[in-house]
């Protein structure tokens, strides 16, 4: 997931970023099955945002906020140090309830 975060931090956050993020996150489940639930939720979050703006450009503010939110959630997910099952579940629930912007 570090590679996914490094890639995301290089992006400027046009809608294609979120479609590509969705594909990358879903693909990553094969090599990191222990993070499959997390990656599925993050992929869905990015995909919902891309669907919401289908064919529309973003404003600079929306682009910056959405990219910041997605990056922050991914950073939280890969923060160093093991977290217990309860914290892990809480993070999954947080992402499950999140919407970008």
């Amino acid at each position: 997931m570090n590679e996914l975060l490094n890639w995301l931090l290089l992006q400027k956050g046009g809608i294609r970023t979120y479609l590509e993020f969705q594909n990358r996150a879903l693909d990553l489940r094969a090599s990191e099955p222990e993070h499959a639930a997390l990656l599925r939720l993050l992929a869905d979050l990015a995909g919902r945002f891309a669907e919401a703006y289908d064919g529309e450009p973003l404003s600079v503010d929306v682009a910056e906020r959405a990219l910041g939110q997605l990056s922050a959630l991914l950073e939280k997910a890969i923060a160093p140090g093991a977290i217990g099952p309860a914290e892990h579940l809480a993070l999954l629930n947080e992402i499950g309830q999140a919407e970008l912007v």
Partner: protein
């Protein structure tokens, strides 16, 4: 009708439909991450019978003038806004219609192409708007994976300011055809309706779109963002 006459007429329709939106203070971030002071919402041609008939007439005339009769078996509309334009053109041209999703469904048949088989067919891909060509590559890949022969893409408007789109498509055997480009837009009679400050900003952007984008929070270079 020449390409520039077609371009000017399409540009006129776009201006009349209010499709040219300028935002000097809050730039748009386009799909590929470029910042731009202007966005052309081609979908505004969909709603009213007059403009959609006019743009379909122009698309049909373009196809008839630039391809031999019988060159295509089907027209495939790109999800989302390419679909209605493709449907009207296919209807007028008497061709089969298909549509192609941004990605396969991932369930069931996992289809990316809908409306019937395209296996062995010569297909014209149609979309409303092209910026850097990235999404067209994806649609063409989907059609080709389903067995279609796709060599041409027809778009209503080509936001032709960022270099490399036509070359990128050409590398994979696709030729881009646009009914209108920025040169047509600025040459259209109706472009006079742009406020002077808006037109000046659009011209500054068009003079160096990469630098403009970089100054306004968008992508800073043509190099793909890995």
């Amino acid at each position: 009708m020449t390409k520039s006459e077609t371009g000017r007429q399409v540009a006129q329709l776009l201006f009349q439909a209010g499709a040219v939106q300028v935002s000097r203070n809050q730039p748009f971030i386009l799909a590929a991450g470029w910042a731009s002071p202007v966005y052309v919402d081609v979908r505004l041609l969909l709603g009213e019978p007059g403009p959609r008939k006019a743009v379909t007439d122009l698309a049909l005339a373009y196809v008839e003038a630039n391809f031999p009769a019988g060159r295509f078996d089907a027209i495939a509309g790109a999800e989302t806004a390419g679909i209605p334009f493709a449907a009207w053109l296919a209807d007028r041209a008497g061709l089969k219609l298909r549509y192609v999703r941004k990605r396969p469904l991932g369930i069931g048949r996992n289809a990316q192409v809908e409306g019937g088989s395209v296996d062995g067919m010569r297909v014209l891909l149609m979309d409303d708007l092209t910026t850097d060509g990235g999404s067209k590559l994806n649609f063409a890949r989907g059609l080709r994976a389903a067995g279609a022969n796709v060599e041409h893409v027809l778009t209503i408007f080509y936001h032709d300011v960022f270099p490399g789109a036509a070359a990128r498509l050409s590398e994979v055997g696709l030729t881009l055809h646009a009914l209108a480009t920025w040169a047509d837009m600025l040459g259209a009679e109706a472009s006079r309706q742009l406020a002077a400050e808006d037109r000046a900003e659009v011209e500054r952007f068009l003079a160096d779109p990469v630098a403009w984008s970089a100054r306004h929070g968008g992508r800073t270079s043509l190099t793909p963002l890995s």
